[in-house]
């Protein structure tokens, strides 16, 4: 048996459990924040409110995840080429579907919310509709024939995609926070801050410092990063992250209340 014949088999065996672990982790990441918020402070407002807001939270989680994933190929799992575009587009369309269910579900079940389609609706609602329009454009413009027709060159697509994605993310964040339905207790801010700090750290380390890549430290036992991060560094990193979360969440809580 040659080396070439042996390699795909070993890769396959190694990848499947990791892939399942990744998908499980993604599900936990998408569902846990909202379930934790419900645990700390139930909505008490009727099942469809909780359900539709849960759908909105999952959509927001996906929106953040699409940014983290963009840290490829340093992030894990390594998504490249067509596989990356397929996965990214699949999740983006899922995000569009979920955000549509969240928004239009309220319009159907709460007819008074049609008022929120007017110019006089609160800023956090205007931001939400703007973000949804951006999502529609981002998804449609990513389909190849439309992409070529709308943008022509790749650079034009990339610039507009990055700009609109960032604007959509900021608008969604403002919508979630300013609606004030969940973020009025310290526990909620603490949870949000923990997630935010972890996400930003993950993204920044993956993008800026390949030697410090979280994915390598955690999953690649052969890499230098895995062995270099010694026992003294890990507690320092942990304490630093906790302190950062406490300061960040405390500051946000004071500012919001």
């Amino acid at each position: 048996m040659t080396y070439k014949n042996k390699k795909p088999e070993s890769v396959k065996h190694k990848t499947l459990p990791l892939l399942l672990f990744f998908l499980g982790g993604l599900c936990v990441y998408l569902f846990m924040p909202y379930l934790s918020l419900l645990f700390f402070r139930p909505m008490l407002a009727g099942s469809y409110w909780d359900l539709l807001n849960g759908v909105g939270f999952v959509a927001f989680g996906l929106c953040i995840y699409l940014f983290i994933e963009r840290a490829r190929p340093r992030s894990w799992p390594k998504l490249k080429g067509d596989l990356f575009y397929w996965w990214h587009r699949l999740l983006a369309f899922a995000l569009l579907l979920l955000s549509s269910i969240h928004g239009f579900g309220f319009l159907i079940l709460e007819p008074v919310t049609w008022e929120y389609l007017s110019l006089r609706s609160p800023w956090y609602m205007l931001c939400a509709w703007l973000a949804w329009l951006f999502f529609v454009y981002l998804c449609l413009a990513s389909i190849r024939p439309l992409k070529q027709r709308l943008h022509g060159g790749f650079l034009s697509f990339r610039f507009s995609h990055a700009l609109l994605s960032i604007l959509a993310l900021v608008a969604c964040l403002y919508h979630v926070v300013a609606a004030g339905f969940y973020f009025d207790r310290y526990a909620a801010w603490a949870l949000f801050s923990l997630l935010f700090v972890l996400v930003v750290s993950y993204y920044a380390l993956n993008r800026l410092g390949p030697k410090l890549s979280f994915s390598k430290i955690l999953f690649d036992s052969d890499s230098k990063a895995h062995s270099q991060v010694g026992t003294s560094v890990k507690p320092t990193l942990f304490i630093g992250l906790v302190l950062l979360c406490v300061l960040f969440s405390g500051g946000l809580y004071v500012a919001a209340n």
């Binding site: 402070r41 909505m43 008490l44 407002a45 009727g46 409110w49 709460e110 007819p111 008074v112 919310t113 008022e115 007017s118 110019l119 006089r120 609706s121 609160p122 339905f181």
Partner: protein, 119 residues
């Protein structure tokens, strides 16, 4: 280079003009739109101090009995109608619910925004 700068400046100007038009249209809409109907029964609120809602009787901001004369006509507050009224009713209902006490609606829009049939 200059072409790119002029493009960016042009886009910025168009954006500023659109934003300005949007803001003025929004203000106009907020001031002129009629208020939504709100159901309110005084008998359900007899445990709440009168001045919690009728603050004008204690803080010297006027002697009108109804809320809308000021909150709709006074230009210093009429852009804040949604925020102030939701803050007064909804937040109080929510706090009571979290304390495990009986309270009015928290989220269901149609439970408050319906014809006012009670004194």
């Amino acid at each position: 280079m200059w072409r790119q700068i002029s493009w960016a400046a042009g886009l910025l100007l168009i954006f500023a003009a659109l934003a300005s038009a949007f803001l003025s249209a929004r203000k106009e809409s907020l001031r002129e739109a009629p208020l939504l109907e709100v159901y309110f029964a005084h008998k359900d609120h007899n445990k709440v101090g009168c001045a919690n809602c009728h603050h004008n009787y204690v803080d010297g901001t006027g002697r009108q009995y109804g809320c809308y004369q000021c909150h709709k006509e006074d230009e210093t507050v009429n852009l804040l109608v949604e925020e102030q009224f939701h803050g007064l009713c909804r937040d109080c209902h929510r706090d009571l619910k979290h304390m495990g006490k009986e309270s009015g609606p928290v989220r269901q829009c149609g439970a408050c925004h319906k014809p006012d049939t009670q004194p």
